[in-house]
């Protein structure tokens, strides 16, 4: 259990943390999402599995958290990078790392995000002046400089934490595994529980109230089937141990199949809504009035 992260790993992870910030505000390829952060950090650190588990857990935690109107959101991507890197290098349990490193880092990074957005105001002012000077190249250049505060808002803290935080984290891990075993277990439980927060946030946002029946349907079908499939699997493994002739293996429940059932209802709902709009010419008219306000300046 050696706690060192090689310098090239620190460098690559820092570069990735800077790239993902820019990706998320421009092309949005999904590479800036916690699951990808987990995969990439896992690859760099040499343990893909741990990366995927930590990335997946943090992805679920922030499932319903979005940025709207420029509000800073909890930065689960950077949280995943540090949690994965330290979990692998210091030998911390993946679920424990989610709660002990991932979440605190993710919420601390809100501050550097705010700082980055604030710094960009400086370039905005320069653009204001360059418009007066009719310096077209200068406007474009100063606009593109905006990517520097963005990238550094993640790059600097990630670099510092990876470079200097290693020994601290490994001593914490040592205590967690010995004297504070109860805390370690508790944090692992918290890690397993965190997706529930993501689901609740999402239900608040969606909002769930209108389709609450489908929430119950999705839950019940899955609860029954997953219990059934898991039990069959357990049974299969047990039988296979007793009888050598028994070679049948069983899979877990297919989430795709369960999603397809939901898709059926969604397609019906879409058709129903379109029909409704055709039947009620009064309703679109009302919308027109509403839009009249918006386009008021056009005439």
């Amino acid at each position: 259990m050696h706690s060192d992260i090689a310098f090239w790993q620190v460098l690559l992870l820092t570069l990735y943390s800077m790239y993902q910030t820019i990706d998320d505000i421009t092309i949005v390829s999904s590479l800036a999402q916690p699951v990808w952060a987990g995969l990439i950090t896992g690859l760099i650190m040499g343990d893909l599995g741990t990366g995927l588990v930590i990335g997946g857990s943090l992805q679920l935690t922030v499932l319903g958290v979005g940025t709207f109107g420029g509000a800073s959101k909890i930065d689960a991507n950077s949280g995943t990078i540090l949690a994965t890197a330290f979990s692998i290098s210091a030998g911390m349990n993946a679920q424990t790392a989610v709660a002990a490193i991932g979440v605190p880092v993710a919420s601390l990074m809100i501050q550097t995000d705010i700082l980055g957005r604030f710094t960009n105001t400086y370039f905005q002012h320069r653009i204001d002046r360059l418009i007066e000077a009719e310096n077209y190249r200068g406007i474009e250049r100063n606009y593109l400089y905006g990517m520097i505060p963005w990238a550094l808002s993640r790059g600097i803290p990630v670099f510092l934490a990876l470079q200097f935080g290693g020994s601290f984290v490994s001593s914490v891990v040592k205590v967690l595994n010995t004297d504070l075993q109860w805390l370690s277990n508790g944090l692992a439980t918290a890690g397993a529980l965190l997706p529930a927060v993501g689901f609740a946030i999402l239900l608040r946002y969606l909002p769930a109230r209108k389709h609450v029946g489908y929430l119950i349907l999705g839950f019940t079908i899955t609860a029954l089937f997953s219990t059934l499939f898991t039990n069959v699997q357990t049974l299969g493994t047990a039988v296979a141990k007793v009888s050598k002739g028994f070679t049948q293996s069983f899979n877990t429940v297919s989430m795709l199949a369960i999603a397809l059932i939901g898709l059926t209802f969604a397609i019906n709902e879409y058709k129903h809504q379109v029909e409704l709009q055709k039947q009620q010419p009064a309703a679109p008219k009302q919308q027109d009035d509403e839009e009249g306000e918006i386009y008021g300046d056009e005439d």
Binding site: T26, G70, E134, Y214
Partner: protein, 272 residues
């Protein structure tokens, strides 16, 4: 009253606007004007062609487009398309209309774009990808990447579309979009229900010994309804989020603290 140069926008121009939008849209985001300078940056080459360099018209246009602007970054070029069509036809005389249009449209566009592109797609794709990732399967991530490339394609083609159709487009698509959003919310809610039943892996390890009878509490709960514990927990957090002054970040920390305490008391534990 067309512009002095009488320039007509070409395919090349749309490509340039799209490129600048995809790779530079929010780089200059700041608290004062938000996407303001970004809007100007994206269409600056076209403004120069329409009004001509070093003319008072160009300066007026640049100032008009360097004002506060903020909308959903997936549908913003629809506004840009409508704007460019107007400015090409009416020239500097349209600037007031265009400014009104931008301010008037950014709210409704943010609402549509945020609910579909910034919430539903990441929620559904994120749930699928995370679900697979926890089983150490990276395939879901690839799927997400593909979906986002399709979204980029939509972002690319909407600009010339909005330029041609103008404001009619918004009216025409509004009904379909609201039906689509409604159906997508239904699917989202259903999937969350399914995820609650599979991905909240906690159980009640509490075993009571009453005389000679041993009561395994988790077993009793399973008899009522399997996965009842995760459902109750999600319901509790849902209720918690409805409290005044509650933010998602605060809720996450409260859950961590409560989980650690409950785990130490032996009420909650991680399911294998």
């Amino acid at each position: 009253m067309a512009t002095k140069t009488d320039y007509k926008l070409k395919k090349k121009d749309f490509r340039q606007v799209n490129r600048r939008n995809l790779f530079g849209n929010q780089l200059g985001w700041n608290y004062e004007k938000m996407q303001g300078s970004g809007y100007l940056f994206i269409i600056l080459p076209q403004l120069r062609k329409l009004y001509g360099d070093h003319t008072p018209e160009l300066k007026a246009a640049m100032k008009a487009h360097n004002q506060f602007f903020n909308t959903n970054p997936y549908v913003n070029t629809m506004i840009t398309g409508i704007d460019l069509a107007l400015e090409e036809k009416e020239g500097i005389g349209s600037l007031e209309t265009v400014s009104g249009l931008k301010t008037g449209l950014m709210g409704p566009f943010a609402a549509i774009g945020d609910s579909i592109f910034a919430s539903l797609i990441p929620a559904i794709m994120g749930a699928i990808a995370a679900n697979m990732a926890i089983q150490k399967n990276p395939f879901g991530l690839l799927l997400w990447l593909i979906v986002n490339f399709i979204v980029m394609y939509i972002r690319w083609i909407q600009l010339p579309l909005a330029y041609k159709e103008g404001t009619n487009l918004v009216t025409r698509m509004r009904g379909q979009l609201s039906a689509l959003t409604d159906a997508a919310i239904l699917l989202g809610v259903y999937v969350v229900g399914a995820l609650v039943a599979t991905l909240v892996n906690v159980k009640v390890p509490f075993v009571a010994h009453i005389g000679k009878v041993t009561v395994d509490l988790q077993n009793e709960i399973d008899m009522i309804l399997p996965k009842l514990v995760p459902a109750v927990i999600v319901a509790l957090i849902y209720w918690l989020l409805g409290k005044k002054k509650m933010t998602s970040t605060k809720a996450i920390f409260i859950v961590i603290v409560v989980a650690v305490v409950c785990s130490a008391l032996g009420i909650l534990g991680k399911a294998s």
